[in-house]
Symmetry: C3
Subunit: 152 residues, 3 copies
Protein backbone atom coordinates (compact mmCIF):
# COMPACT_ATOMS: atom_id res chain seq x y z
CA UNK A 1 0.00 0.00 0.00
CA UNK A 2 2.82 2.38 0.95
CA UNK A 3 4.59 1.59 -2.33
CA UNK A 4 1.54 2.63 -4.35
CA UNK A 5 1.19 5.86 -2.39
CA UNK A 6 4.85 6.66 -2.94
CA UNK A 7 4.56 5.89 -6.64
CA UNK A 8 1.54 8.15 -6.95
CA UNK A 9 3.30 10.94 -5.06
CA UNK A 10 6.33 10.56 -7.31
CA UNK A 11 4.16 10.65 -10.44
CA UNK A 12 2.51 13.77 -9.07
CA UNK A 13 5.88 15.48 -8.61
CA UNK A 14 6.92 14.52 -12.16
CA UNK A 15 3.64 15.84 -13.51
CA UNK A 16 4.00 19.16 -11.67
CA UNK A 17 7.57 19.55 -12.87
CA UNK A 18 6.43 18.93 -16.44
CA UNK A 19 3.64 21.48 -16.16
CA UNK A 20 6.09 23.97 -14.81
CA UNK A 21 8.69 23.48 -17.53
CA UNK A 22 5.99 23.72 -20.19
CA UNK A 23 4.79 27.07 -18.94
CA UNK A 24 8.28 28.55 -18.63
CA UNK A 25 9.96 30.22 -21.58
CA UNK A 26 13.68 29.68 -22.08
CA UNK A 27 14.98 33.23 -22.54
CA UNK A 28 18.26 32.15 -24.14
CA UNK A 29 16.54 30.16 -26.88
CA UNK A 30 13.46 32.30 -27.33
CA UNK A 31 12.81 33.68 -30.80
CA UNK A 32 9.13 34.59 -30.54
CA UNK A 33 5.78 32.91 -30.09
CA UNK A 34 4.78 30.32 -32.72
CA UNK A 35 1.83 31.05 -35.01
CA UNK A 36 0.20 27.63 -35.40
CA UNK A 37 -3.18 28.77 -36.68
CA UNK A 38 -4.28 29.35 -40.27
CA UNK A 39 -5.99 32.69 -39.76
CA UNK A 40 -5.33 35.67 -37.55
CA UNK A 41 -7.33 38.86 -37.25
CA UNK A 42 -6.40 42.08 -35.51
CA UNK A 43 -8.13 45.39 -34.95
CA UNK A 44 -5.73 48.34 -34.89
CA UNK A 45 -6.86 51.37 -32.91
CA UNK A 46 -6.04 55.02 -33.54
CA UNK A 47 -7.57 57.83 -31.44
CA UNK A 48 -4.73 60.34 -31.72
CA UNK A 49 -4.21 63.15 -34.24
CA UNK A 50 -0.42 63.26 -33.82
CA UNK A 51 1.29 62.75 -37.18
CA UNK A 52 4.07 60.62 -35.70
CA UNK A 53 1.52 58.41 -33.93
CA UNK A 54 -0.58 58.01 -37.10
CA UNK A 55 2.40 57.14 -39.31
CA UNK A 56 3.70 54.80 -36.61
CA UNK A 57 0.38 52.95 -36.45
CA UNK A 58 0.17 52.55 -40.24
CA UNK A 59 3.78 51.29 -40.27
CA UNK A 60 2.97 48.89 -37.41
CA UNK A 61 0.14 47.40 -39.48
CA UNK A 62 2.55 46.83 -42.36
CA UNK A 63 5.09 45.26 -40.03
CA UNK A 64 2.54 42.85 -38.57
CA UNK A 65 1.47 41.79 -42.08
CA UNK A 66 5.11 41.26 -43.08
CA UNK A 67 5.95 39.25 -39.96
CA UNK A 68 7.12 35.88 -41.38
CA UNK A 69 4.92 34.12 -38.81
CA UNK A 70 1.74 35.88 -39.97
CA UNK A 71 2.43 36.69 -43.62
CA UNK A 72 -0.54 35.82 -45.83
CA UNK A 73 -2.79 34.85 -42.95
CA UNK A 74 -3.52 38.09 -41.13
CA UNK A 75 -6.70 40.16 -41.64
CA UNK A 76 -6.56 43.66 -40.22
CA UNK A 77 -9.18 46.32 -39.55
CA UNK A 78 -8.11 49.85 -38.65
CA UNK A 79 -10.60 51.70 -36.47
CA UNK A 80 -10.31 55.46 -35.97
CA UNK A 81 -12.27 57.38 -33.34
CA UNK A 82 -11.96 60.63 -31.39
CA UNK A 83 -8.94 62.65 -32.54
CA UNK A 84 -7.91 59.66 -34.69
CA UNK A 85 -10.37 60.77 -37.39
CA UNK A 86 -7.45 62.85 -38.69
CA UNK A 87 -6.03 59.72 -40.36
CA UNK A 88 -8.95 59.79 -42.85
CA UNK A 89 -9.18 63.56 -43.40
CA UNK A 90 -8.41 64.49 -47.00
CA UNK A 91 -6.40 67.54 -45.96
CA UNK A 92 -4.08 65.32 -43.89
CA UNK A 93 -3.02 63.38 -47.00
CA UNK A 94 -2.48 59.87 -45.72
CA UNK A 95 -4.28 58.56 -48.80
CA UNK A 96 -1.32 56.77 -50.43
CA UNK A 97 -0.46 54.98 -47.18
CA UNK A 98 -4.12 54.09 -46.66
CA UNK A 99 -4.86 52.79 -50.15
CA UNK A 100 -1.66 50.73 -50.05
CA UNK A 101 -2.93 49.06 -46.88
CA UNK A 102 -6.38 48.63 -48.40
CA UNK A 103 -4.88 46.85 -51.43
CA UNK A 104 -3.35 44.37 -48.99
CA UNK A 105 -6.82 43.70 -47.50
CA UNK A 106 -6.84 46.09 -44.55
CA UNK A 107 -10.36 47.37 -43.83
CA UNK A 108 -10.52 51.08 -42.99
CA UNK A 109 -13.24 52.00 -40.49
CA UNK A 110 -14.27 55.29 -38.94
CA UNK A 111 -16.43 55.84 -35.83
CA UNK A 112 -19.74 57.34 -37.02
CA UNK A 113 -20.31 58.76 -33.55
CA UNK A 114 -17.16 60.90 -33.72
CA UNK A 115 -18.24 62.30 -37.07
CA UNK A 116 -21.70 63.18 -35.71
CA UNK A 117 -20.49 64.63 -32.38
CA UNK A 118 -17.83 66.78 -34.08
CA UNK A 119 -20.14 67.74 -36.94
CA UNK A 120 -17.54 66.63 -39.49
CA UNK A 121 -18.64 66.80 -43.12
CA UNK A 122 -18.04 63.30 -44.53
CA UNK A 123 -17.05 64.98 -47.79
CA UNK A 124 -13.85 65.98 -45.98
CA UNK A 125 -12.98 62.35 -45.29
CA UNK A 126 -11.79 59.87 -47.95
CA UNK A 127 -14.69 58.17 -49.71
CA UNK A 128 -13.00 54.75 -49.69
CA UNK A 129 -13.50 54.21 -45.93
CA UNK A 130 -16.39 52.58 -44.03
CA UNK A 131 -18.35 53.86 -41.05
CA UNK A 132 -19.24 51.83 -37.97
CA UNK A 133 -21.72 52.95 -35.25
CA UNK A 134 -19.03 53.56 -32.59
CA UNK A 135 -15.32 52.86 -32.52
CA UNK A 136 -15.56 51.66 -28.93
CA UNK A 137 -18.34 49.21 -29.75
CA UNK A 138 -16.29 47.90 -32.66
CA UNK A 139 -13.25 47.29 -30.42
CA UNK A 140 -15.34 45.38 -27.89
CA UNK A 141 -17.26 43.26 -30.42
CA UNK A 142 -14.09 42.33 -32.32
CA UNK A 143 -12.43 41.08 -29.14
CA UNK A 144 -15.51 38.94 -28.44
CA UNK A 145 -15.16 37.56 -31.97
CA UNK A 146 -11.65 36.44 -31.06
CA UNK A 147 -9.71 39.23 -32.74
CA UNK A 148 -6.52 40.58 -31.23
CA UNK A 149 -6.62 44.28 -30.35
CA UNK A 150 -3.55 46.48 -30.90
CA UNK A 151 -3.39 50.12 -29.84
CA UNK A 152 0.18 51.23 -30.64
CA UNK B 1 -12.69 6.22 -59.50
CA UNK B 2 -11.30 9.20 -61.36
CA UNK B 3 -14.74 10.81 -61.31
CA UNK B 4 -14.93 10.59 -57.53
CA UNK B 5 -11.45 12.09 -57.14
CA UNK B 6 -12.38 14.96 -59.46
CA UNK B 7 -15.62 15.53 -57.56
CA UNK B 8 -13.75 15.62 -54.25
CA UNK B 9 -11.14 17.99 -55.65
CA UNK B 10 -13.88 20.26 -56.98
CA UNK B 11 -15.67 20.20 -53.64
CA UNK B 12 -12.37 21.08 -51.98
CA UNK B 13 -11.92 24.10 -54.26
CA UNK B 14 -15.46 25.27 -53.53
CA UNK B 15 -14.90 24.85 -49.82
CA UNK B 16 -11.63 26.84 -49.87
CA UNK B 17 -13.27 29.61 -51.88
CA UNK B 18 -16.06 29.77 -49.33
CA UNK B 19 -13.64 29.92 -46.41
CA UNK B 20 -11.79 32.72 -48.13
CA UNK B 21 -14.82 34.82 -48.89
CA UNK B 22 -16.05 34.35 -45.32
CA UNK B 23 -12.83 35.67 -43.84
CA UNK B 24 -12.62 38.68 -46.14
CA UNK B 25 -14.52 41.86 -45.33
CA UNK B 26 -16.14 43.77 -48.17
CA UNK B 27 -15.02 47.35 -47.53
CA UNK B 28 -17.73 48.89 -49.71
CA UNK B 29 -20.54 47.19 -47.80
CA UNK B 30 -19.01 47.14 -44.35
CA UNK B 31 -20.97 48.84 -41.58
CA UNK B 32 -19.34 47.31 -38.52
CA UNK B 33 -18.94 43.94 -36.82
CA UNK B 34 -22.16 42.17 -35.79
CA UNK B 35 -22.88 41.67 -32.10
CA UNK B 36 -24.54 38.25 -32.01
CA UNK B 37 -24.10 37.51 -28.33
CA UNK B 38 -26.45 38.33 -25.46
CA UNK B 39 -23.88 39.73 -23.06
CA UNK B 40 -20.72 41.74 -23.46
CA UNK B 41 -18.32 42.90 -20.81
CA UNK B 42 -15.49 45.38 -21.09
CA UNK B 43 -12.89 46.73 -18.71
CA UNK B 44 -11.96 50.36 -19.40
CA UNK B 45 -8.48 51.43 -18.31
CA UNK B 46 -7.34 54.87 -17.17
CA UNK B 47 -3.78 55.50 -15.92
CA UNK B 48 -3.47 59.14 -16.97
CA UNK B 49 -4.24 62.33 -14.98
CA UNK B 50 -4.82 64.48 -18.07
CA UNK B 51 -8.29 66.05 -17.91
CA UNK B 52 -8.89 65.63 -21.64
CA UNK B 53 -7.91 61.95 -21.44
CA UNK B 54 -10.15 61.35 -18.40
CA UNK B 55 -13.18 63.07 -19.95
CA UNK B 56 -12.52 61.25 -23.23
CA UNK B 57 -12.47 57.88 -21.49
CA UNK B 58 -15.71 58.54 -19.61
CA UNK B 59 -17.34 59.69 -22.87
CA UNK B 60 -16.01 56.57 -24.63
CA UNK B 61 -17.72 54.39 -22.02
CA UNK B 62 -21.01 56.20 -22.66
CA UNK B 63 -20.57 55.81 -26.41
CA UNK B 64 -19.94 52.07 -26.14
CA UNK B 65 -23.06 51.65 -24.01
CA UNK B 66 -25.11 53.67 -26.51
CA UNK B 67 -23.80 51.73 -29.52
CA UNK B 68 -27.00 50.26 -31.05
CA UNK B 69 -25.23 46.91 -31.35
CA UNK B 70 -24.45 46.72 -27.62
CA UNK B 71 -27.19 48.78 -26.02
CA UNK B 72 -28.67 47.03 -22.99
CA UNK B 73 -26.21 44.15 -23.05
CA UNK B 74 -22.86 45.67 -22.10
CA UNK B 75 -21.42 45.54 -18.58
CA UNK B 76 -18.48 47.87 -17.99
CA UNK B 77 -15.89 48.16 -15.24
CA UNK B 78 -13.62 51.21 -15.10
CA UNK B 79 -10.24 50.54 -13.52
CA UNK B 80 -7.98 53.41 -12.50
CA UNK B 81 -4.34 52.98 -11.53
CA UNK B 82 -1.17 55.08 -11.43
CA UNK B 83 -1.88 58.69 -12.39
CA UNK B 84 -5.42 57.62 -13.31
CA UNK B 85 -6.41 57.81 -9.63
CA UNK B 86 -7.18 61.47 -10.40
CA UNK B 87 -10.53 60.41 -11.90
CA UNK B 88 -11.75 59.49 -8.41
CA UNK B 89 -10.22 62.38 -6.45
CA UNK B 90 -12.88 64.56 -4.86
CA UNK B 91 -11.00 67.76 -5.71
CA UNK B 92 -11.06 66.82 -9.42
CA UNK B 93 -14.88 66.88 -9.45
CA UNK B 94 -15.75 64.14 -11.93
CA UNK B 95 -18.48 62.99 -9.53
CA UNK B 96 -21.49 63.83 -11.72
CA UNK B 97 -19.98 62.03 -14.71
CA UNK B 98 -19.05 59.06 -12.50
CA UNK B 99 -22.38 58.66 -10.72
CA UNK B 100 -24.19 58.93 -14.05
CA UNK B 101 -22.10 56.00 -15.31
CA UNK B 102 -22.68 54.11 -12.07
CA UNK B 103 -26.45 54.51 -12.44
CA UNK B 104 -26.13 52.81 -15.81
CA UNK B 105 -24.36 49.85 -14.18
CA UNK B 106 -20.71 50.80 -14.65
CA UNK B 107 -18.54 49.51 -11.79
CA UNK B 108 -15.92 51.99 -10.61
CA UNK B 109 -12.70 50.38 -9.38
CA UNK B 110 -9.47 51.84 -8.05
CA UNK B 111 -6.08 50.09 -7.70
CA UNK B 112 -5.41 49.66 -3.97
CA UNK B 113 -1.69 49.39 -4.68
CA UNK B 114 -1.57 52.91 -6.17
CA UNK B 115 -3.31 54.32 -3.11
CA UNK B 116 -0.83 52.59 -0.78
CA UNK B 117 2.32 53.44 -2.78
CA UNK B 118 1.31 57.11 -3.14
CA UNK B 119 0.07 57.32 0.47
CA UNK B 120 -3.26 58.72 -0.73
CA UNK B 121 -5.85 59.24 2.00
CA UNK B 122 -8.94 57.35 0.86
CA UNK B 123 -11.02 60.15 2.38
CA UNK B 124 -9.86 62.25 -0.58
CA UNK B 125 -11.39 59.79 -3.05
CA UNK B 126 -15.13 59.37 -3.63
CA UNK B 127 -16.68 56.89 -1.21
CA UNK B 128 -18.87 55.27 -3.89
CA UNK B 129 -15.93 53.49 -5.59
CA UNK B 130 -14.46 50.02 -4.96
CA UNK B 131 -10.85 48.98 -4.41
CA UNK B 132 -9.13 46.02 -6.09
CA UNK B 133 -5.68 44.66 -5.08
CA UNK B 134 -3.91 45.92 -8.23
CA UNK B 135 -5.17 47.53 -11.40
CA UNK B 136 -2.79 45.44 -13.48
CA UNK B 137 -3.98 42.19 -11.91
CA UNK B 138 -7.58 43.23 -12.57
CA UNK B 139 -6.85 43.89 -16.26
CA UNK B 140 -5.21 40.48 -16.67
CA UNK B 141 -7.86 38.50 -14.80
CA UNK B 142 -10.72 40.19 -16.65
CA UNK B 143 -9.20 39.27 -20.02
CA UNK B 144 -8.92 35.65 -18.85
CA UNK B 145 -12.60 35.83 -17.92
CA UNK B 146 -13.34 36.77 -21.51
CA UNK B 147 -13.81 40.50 -21.05
CA UNK B 148 -12.71 42.94 -23.74
CA UNK B 149 -10.09 45.45 -22.60
CA UNK B 150 -10.21 49.06 -23.82
CA UNK B 151 -7.52 51.62 -23.01
CA UNK B 152 -8.55 54.78 -24.93
CA UNK C 1 -52.42 22.76 -20.23
CA UNK C 2 -52.69 26.36 -19.09
CA UNK C 3 -51.06 25.41 -15.79
CA UNK C 4 -48.03 23.98 -17.54
CA UNK C 5 -47.68 27.11 -19.68
CA UNK C 6 -47.88 29.32 -16.60
CA UNK C 7 -45.32 27.18 -14.79
CA UNK C 8 -42.94 27.40 -17.76
CA UNK C 9 -43.42 31.14 -18.01
CA UNK C 10 -42.74 31.51 -14.28
CA UNK C 11 -39.60 29.35 -14.56
CA UNK C 12 -38.51 31.53 -17.46
CA UNK C 13 -38.88 34.70 -15.38
CA UNK C 14 -36.91 33.13 -12.53
CA UNK C 15 -34.20 32.04 -14.94
CA UNK C 16 -33.92 35.53 -16.48
CA UNK C 17 -33.72 37.13 -13.05
CA UNK C 18 -30.96 34.73 -12.11
CA UNK C 19 -29.01 35.45 -15.30
CA UNK C 20 -29.34 39.13 -14.65
CA UNK C 21 -28.16 39.04 -11.06
CA UNK C 22 -25.23 36.83 -12.05
CA UNK C 23 -24.00 39.30 -14.64
CA UNK C 24 -24.32 42.34 -12.40
CA UNK C 25 -21.53 43.35 -10.07
CA UNK C 26 -22.42 44.67 -6.64
CA UNK C 27 -20.35 47.85 -6.37
CA UNK C 28 -20.62 48.07 -2.59
CA UNK C 29 -19.21 44.59 -2.06
CA UNK C 30 -16.82 44.45 -4.96
CA UNK C 31 -13.16 43.79 -4.16
CA UNK C 32 -11.87 42.70 -7.56
CA UNK C 33 -12.30 39.88 -10.04
CA UNK C 34 -11.53 36.36 -8.78
CA UNK C 35 -8.57 34.49 -10.27
CA UNK C 36 -9.81 30.89 -10.40
CA UNK C 37 -7.28 29.52 -12.88
CA UNK C 38 -3.89 27.96 -12.15
CA UNK C 39 -1.89 29.83 -14.77
CA UNK C 40 -2.04 33.32 -16.19
CA UNK C 41 0.09 34.83 -18.90
CA UNK C 42 0.39 38.45 -19.94
CA UNK C 43 2.35 40.30 -22.59
CA UNK C 44 3.37 43.79 -21.53
CA UNK C 45 3.91 46.31 -24.31
CA UNK C 46 6.31 49.25 -24.39
CA UNK C 47 6.71 51.45 -27.48
CA UNK C 48 7.64 54.69 -25.77
CA UNK C 49 11.08 56.10 -24.89
CA UNK C 50 9.83 58.28 -22.06
CA UNK C 51 11.68 57.43 -18.83
CA UNK C 52 8.57 57.85 -16.67
CA UNK C 53 6.59 55.55 -19.01
CA UNK C 54 9.35 52.92 -19.02
CA UNK C 55 9.77 52.89 -15.23
CA UNK C 56 5.98 52.86 -14.84
CA UNK C 57 5.65 49.82 -17.10
CA UNK C 58 8.40 47.90 -15.26
CA UNK C 59 6.75 48.77 -11.94
CA UNK C 60 3.34 47.68 -13.32
CA UNK C 61 4.83 44.27 -14.16
CA UNK C 62 6.09 43.91 -10.60
CA UNK C 63 2.71 44.96 -9.22
CA UNK C 64 0.85 42.41 -11.35
CA UNK C 65 3.22 39.65 -10.15
CA UNK C 66 2.72 40.71 -6.53
CA UNK C 67 -1.07 40.86 -6.82
CA UNK C 68 -2.23 38.34 -4.18
CA UNK C 69 -4.67 36.89 -6.74
CA UNK C 70 -1.90 36.13 -9.26
CA UNK C 71 1.19 35.64 -7.11
CA UNK C 72 3.17 32.57 -8.20
CA UNK C 73 0.97 31.84 -11.20
CA UNK C 74 1.65 34.66 -13.64
CA UNK C 75 4.09 34.38 -16.57
CA UNK C 76 4.99 37.69 -18.19
CA UNK C 77 6.70 38.63 -21.45
CA UNK C 78 7.78 42.22 -22.04
CA UNK C 79 7.84 43.22 -25.70
CA UNK C 80 9.56 46.43 -26.80
CA UNK C 81 9.16 47.93 -30.27
CA UNK C 82 9.47 51.35 -31.92
CA UNK C 83 10.74 53.96 -29.45
CA UNK C 84 10.38 51.36 -26.69
CA UNK C 85 13.75 49.85 -27.68
CA UNK C 86 15.18 52.42 -25.24
CA UNK C 87 14.30 50.10 -22.35
CA UNK C 88 17.02 47.67 -23.51
CA UNK C 89 19.69 50.21 -24.52
CA UNK C 90 22.79 49.86 -22.37
CA UNK C 91 23.25 53.62 -22.14
CA UNK C 92 19.74 53.95 -20.62
CA UNK C 93 20.75 51.79 -17.64
CA UNK C 94 17.56 49.92 -16.83
CA UNK C 95 19.64 46.74 -16.37
CA UNK C 96 19.08 46.27 -12.63
CA UNK C 97 15.32 46.65 -13.02
CA UNK C 98 15.37 44.29 -16.03
CA UNK C 99 17.49 41.54 -14.50
CA UNK C 100 15.38 41.65 -11.34
CA UNK C 101 12.30 41.01 -13.48
CA UNK C 102 14.13 38.29 -15.40
CA UNK C 103 15.03 36.52 -12.15
CA UNK C 104 11.30 36.38 -11.41
CA UNK C 105 10.68 34.69 -14.77
CA UNK C 106 9.80 37.68 -16.98
CA UNK C 107 10.92 37.13 -20.58
CA UNK C 108 12.46 40.18 -22.20
CA UNK C 109 11.79 40.49 -25.93
CA UNK C 110 12.78 43.09 -28.50
CA UNK C 111 11.28 43.61 -31.97
CA UNK C 112 13.93 42.60 -34.53
CA UNK C 113 12.23 44.76 -37.14
CA UNK C 114 12.78 47.94 -35.09
CA UNK C 115 16.46 47.11 -34.71
CA UNK C 116 16.83 46.56 -38.47
CA UNK C 117 14.80 49.62 -39.56
CA UNK C 118 16.65 51.92 -37.17
CA UNK C 119 20.03 50.33 -37.90
CA UNK C 120 20.65 49.79 -34.19
CA UNK C 121 23.84 47.91 -33.34
CA UNK C 122 22.73 45.01 -31.13
CA UNK C 123 25.96 45.49 -29.18
CA UNK C 124 24.31 48.61 -27.76
CA UNK C 125 21.44 46.58 -26.33
CA UNK C 126 21.74 44.24 -23.33
CA UNK C 127 22.84 40.74 -24.33
CA UNK C 128 20.41 39.03 -21.95
CA UNK C 129 17.34 39.87 -24.09
CA UNK C 130 15.68 37.91 -26.92
CA UNK C 131 14.63 39.05 -30.38
CA UNK C 132 11.31 38.28 -32.06
CA UNK C 133 10.54 38.95 -35.76
CA UNK C 134 8.13 41.85 -35.05
CA UNK C 135 6.70 43.27 -31.86
CA UNK C 136 3.30 43.66 -33.49
CA UNK C 137 3.23 40.05 -34.64
CA UNK C 138 4.18 38.94 -31.13
CA UNK C 139 1.31 40.93 -29.59
CA UNK C 140 -1.21 39.42 -32.01
CA UNK C 141 0.00 35.83 -31.70
CA UNK C 142 0.10 35.98 -27.90
CA UNK C 143 -3.51 37.15 -27.76
CA UNK C 144 -4.50 34.23 -30.00
CA UNK C 145 -2.66 31.94 -27.56
CA UNK C 146 -4.94 33.27 -24.82
CA UNK C 147 -2.52 35.70 -23.21
CA UNK C 148 -3.74 38.96 -21.74
CA UNK C 149 -2.23 42.08 -23.33
CA UNK C 150 -1.34 45.10 -21.20
CA UNK C 151 -0.08 48.38 -22.63
CA UNK C 152 0.22 50.73 -19.63
Amino acid sequence: MKKITMALLFAGVLFSAKSFSQSTIDQANFHGAAADLKDYKAIYIINNADDKKIRGTLRNINNAMEDPRLKGKLQIELIAFGDGVEVYRKSAHYDTLLTNLQKKGVVLAQCENTVRERKIDKANLWSFISYVPTGNGEIIIRQYQGWAAVHP
